[in-house]
Point group: C2
């Protein structure tokens, strides 16, 4: 009955239902209006995401999502030669993979609202601290990710969105507009704090509103309790459910 909003991405999507995180906030904002479906895969890059595409979005679905957020790149942008090299995907391939994902979703549903989200910026110092705490001194001699390189992926993502005529959120740029973004928005140099989650939530809601997927204008699935006459409840349900 209700439309689905699907969140497809890496760990920043997978953990988005933790306390105060952006996925749960979205589910709350759209409660009784749309279902938010979580499809986050920690550690995944776009190359691996392609293997999931036909499983998560089979063609011929009777009820494809009305909107999907595609939020990859943080792992693709891991440096070749660094400790997370296994996850690295060259930027041209990253763009090509995103293009394949968008094309497939359009084939699933030409009316689906597709929102590409860039990776957040990297706080290199915070990332190094996290690695030292987790793995000890030998952890990282060279950085595994740099903010500059991640910025190249973010730029590629936004360019591709423009080219394909889908919406995008440049989280990499947006977050860096705020002083102290390194600690304010990132908890380990890469993953988001509660305030970082609030930025993603606000940006996604803004884009959804612009695309007419505004929770405040969507109908409740069933009558609001204040519309139900205690002595004659049938009436409210006859109007809304038939």
């Amino acid at each position: 009955m209700r439309p689905n909003i699907l969140l497809f991405g890496d760990s920043i999507t997978q953990e988005s239902f933790r306390s105060g995180c952006w996925g749960a906030s979205l589910a709350d904002a759209y409660s009784r209006k749309a279902d938010v479906v979580l499809r986050g895969y920690g550690g995944y890059n776009t190359r691996w995401a392609l293997f999931l595409l036909h499983h998560l979005f089979p063609l011929g679905l009777t009820k494809p999502p009305v909107a999907t957020t595609i939020f990859f790149g943080a792992n693709d942008a891991a440096l070749a030669g660094g400790t997370s090299e296994r996850q690295h995907v060259p930027v041209e391939e990253y763009k090509e993979n995103l293009r394949k994902i968008v094309r497939h979703l359009k084939e699933c549903s030409p009316t689906m609202l597709i929102v590409l989200i860039t990776p957040p910026p990297i706080d290199e110092e915070g990332r190094m601290e996290y690695a030292r705490e987790t793995y000890g001194e030998k952890a990282m001699i060279l950085p595994e990710r740099t903010n500059e390189t991640t910025g190249v992926y973010a730029k590629g993502c936004v360019e591709l969105a423009r080219e394909l005529g889908v919406r995008s959120i440049n989280l990499w740029s947006k977050m860096q507009e705020t002083d102290g973004w390194q600690k304010k928005y990132l908890r380990d140099g890469l993953h988001l704090t509660a305030e970082g989650n609030a930025v993603v939530f606000e940006e996604v809601v803004k884009v959804f509103k612009e695309a007419w997927l505004d929770a405040s204008e969507m109908p409740y699935d069933f009558p609001h309790h204040s519309e139900i006459d205690g002595k004659n409840p049938e009436k409210a349900f006859q109007q809304k459910c038939l």
Copy 2:
């Protein structure tokens, strides 16, 4: 692909995806393993819930939920003659309505794990304060809900669960085992604080585990990223996706 866990109830279910609340915590605990579907209807009692039953759980669903929590009673237990009289449902009818809900779910799927949750206790003083703050001095002369009456509904709910052979959580009793439960678990005398939400989350997880629906023993929907060989990713996906 993934199993669904459905949360059916009143406002305490509807708002369960707010920051740190029990529904979102459940979605996080089962991430990549099961989808948590939110069907909370603020202000609803069991009488009104019956109108939704065939819409939310149509017979012949190809994929009925593997588990459903049924969490009503807080509104049914509003006092006849009080300011929330409109929502009042006599306790015998409350039990009869719950029986109809359980029977219908069993008809949808004989293997569905059904968990009845009693209403939480009422902090009458906190409820009165809330009403005064919201509506001013004239708000409530008589209480709209009492802890004793809600306890009668909780007892009825647990008895019915035993009779029908389904599981139950006696939240009314459980919360009152802790000193200072009134302010610790309830934010307005009725709805739950973050700590109150944590109690619901822990109790639901405990019952799910006892019924073999334990997230830690359920498989991931797709390979964990650490199982993916960077040079030969196909291998992990062939094993897990075919």
